[in-house]
Amino acid sequence: MESDERRRFEAVVLPHADAAYNLARWLTRDADAADDLLQEAMYRAARYFHSLKGVDARPWLLGIVRRTTYDWLRNRKPTIPLDLDLHDNGDEALDPMAVVLGECRQEDVRQAMESLPPALREVIVLREVECLTYQQIADVIDTPVGTVMSRLSRGRQQLQILLAPTMDAEK
C-alpha cells in the first residue's frame, strides 16, 4: 500500500531520475557505479524529501546525486584534479571556436566529453544535455554563476579542439 508521501515523491522527484542517472554516468564513466550511485541518491532524496519545499526538484536531485558521486570518486582516487586543463596551445591567432564542426561520430563526441576533467564535463552535461540555466547549474554544482560561465567556456573550448581535427592538420 502506497503512502501519500511516496505518491508525492514519485510525482515530484521521479521525473528527474534520468537526469540524475545521466549525470552519474557521465561523471563516473562506469555503468555499474552509476547504478549504485543512482540508487543511493534516490534513497537520500526520499529521506530528505520533506526538506524540499518550493525548491525546483531537478537541480535538487542533481545536487544530491552529484555529491554522492563525488564522494565515490574521491574514495577511488585520493585526489581528483578537479581543475586540470588540457595544455593550452597558446596560439591566439587561430581560435578553435572559429570553426564549424563537420559530421562527428557518436563515439568521438563521447570520448571527447569523457576526456574532460570532471569539473568541466559536468557543466557541459548540465548545459548541453540537460539544458539547465546558468543559475540552475550554479545551484547544482554549488558555485557562483561566474564559475559556471568560465567552466562552460573552457569546456567548450577543449571539446572544440578535440572534435575539430582539421585544426591540427592546418598547423
Binding site: 531520475a17 581560435d95 564549424v100
Partner: protein, 257 residues
C-alpha cells in the same frame, strides 16, 4: 560594443542568458563583424553536435524504487555503531519512543521544547551509517570550508583529538525546516553532534544541561553563536567535551586557524 567585449559575452549570448540590452548589442555587433560571427557559428555548431551525438543514459527503473520505510519513518534503519544486539534493540525502542517525546525544558518555552525534540531526532537520524556526515574528514581544514556556500555563516570546527574526541566530519541538518551546521565527533562508540547557528542576541548564555531519552544535551550561547551538543556519552565526559569546545574562542574570519 567591441570584439573583445563580445567575445566575453558570446557564450552567454548563445545560451540566451543575456539581458535584453546586451543581447541586442551583441546581435548588432555580429551583424557587422565576420570574425565574431565565425565564433558564434562555431559555438552553435559545437552545441548542436553535442545535442545530437552525445549519448543520453536513462535510469534503469528498478533502481528508482525506494523502500517504503525510507519515507520519514524512523523504524527499520541500519545503525552507525552496530554494537551488540541489546544495544541495537535499545536503540530501536528509543527511535520508536521519539514520536512520543515528553519534551525537554532547557527553558520553559514551547519553541525550545520543539527545538530540543528536533535536536534529538536529528541526532538519532545521524546515527545511521550514510547519514552521519556529508563531508568525511578528521581534518578541520577540510570540514570547515565545506560549509562555505551552503550556509550564510561559518561554523566553528575544532580539532579535539588531543582531548580524545575524534572529528568525523560535518553535514547540513534540517532543524525545523532550517539548514544548520552539524559537526560530528565521537569518543569510543559514542557519537556527539554539535549543532551551531548564529544567535539572535549578542548576549552570552551559560551552559544548560538536560537529559532525555538516554541522551545528554548541553546548550549555550557564546560570541554570537548558539550551540547545542547532544550525545549518549555520560555526563562527566560530555562536560569535558563541552569545556574543551568552549575554551577555544571562535576565530575571526580571515584570521589564522
Amino acid at each position: 560594443m567591441n570584439c573583445q567585449q563580445v567575445r566575453q559575452l558570446l557564450h552567454a549570448y548563445v545560451d540566451g542568458e543575456l539581458d535584453l540590452v546586451r543581447n541586442v548589442e551583441v546581435e548588432d555587433h555580429l551583424k557587422g563583424c565576420t570574425e565574431c560571427s565565425k565564433l558564434d557559428k562555431g559555438v552553435r555548431s559545437l552545441r548542436s553536435t553535442i545535442a545530437t551525438q552525445a549519448p543520453y543514459f536513462r535510469a534503469p527503473r528498478e533502481l528508482c524504487v525506494v523502500p517504503e520505510s525510507t519515507f520519514a519513518n524512523p523504524k527499520n534503519r541500519r545503525h552507525f555503531f552496530t554494537g551488540n544486539l541489546a544495544t541495537t534493540l535499545a536503540l530501536s525502542l528509543l527511535i520508536g519512543a521519539i514520536s512520543f517525546s515528553g519534551g525537554l525544558f532547557l527553558n520553559s518555552g514551547q519553541s525550545n521544547q520543539r527545538l530540543a525534540d528536533a535536536i534529538v531526532a536529528a541526532h538519532v537520524r545521524s546515527l545511521q551509517v550514510e547519514h552521519a556526515v556529508d563531508v568525511v574528514s578528521s581534518d578541520r581544514h577540510t570540514v570547515k570550508p565545506w560549509f562555505q556556500g551552503k550556509l550564510d555563516y561559518a561554523p566553528q570546527v575544532i580539532d579535539l583529538s588531543k582531548q580524545g574526541f575524534k572529528l568525523h566530519g560535518g553535514r547540513l541538518d534540517y532543524l525545523i525546516d532550517r539548514p544548520i551546521a552539524a559537526v560530528f565527533y565521537y569518543r569510543r562508540s559514542h557519537a556527539i553532534n554539535v549543532f551551531t547557528w548564529p544567535a539572535i542576541s549578542d548576549k552570552d548564555a551559560p551552559v544548560r544541561k538536560k537529559s532525555t531519552q538516554g541522551f545528554h544535551i548541553r546548550s549555550w550561547q557564546q560570541s554570537g553563536m548558539t550551540y547545542w551538543v547532544i550525545s549518549d556519552l555520560n555526563d562527566v565526559e560530555l562536560d569535558e567535551f563541552v569545556n574543551s569546545l568552549r575554551e577555544i574562542p571562535p576565530q575571526p574570519t580571515g584570521g589564522p586557524e
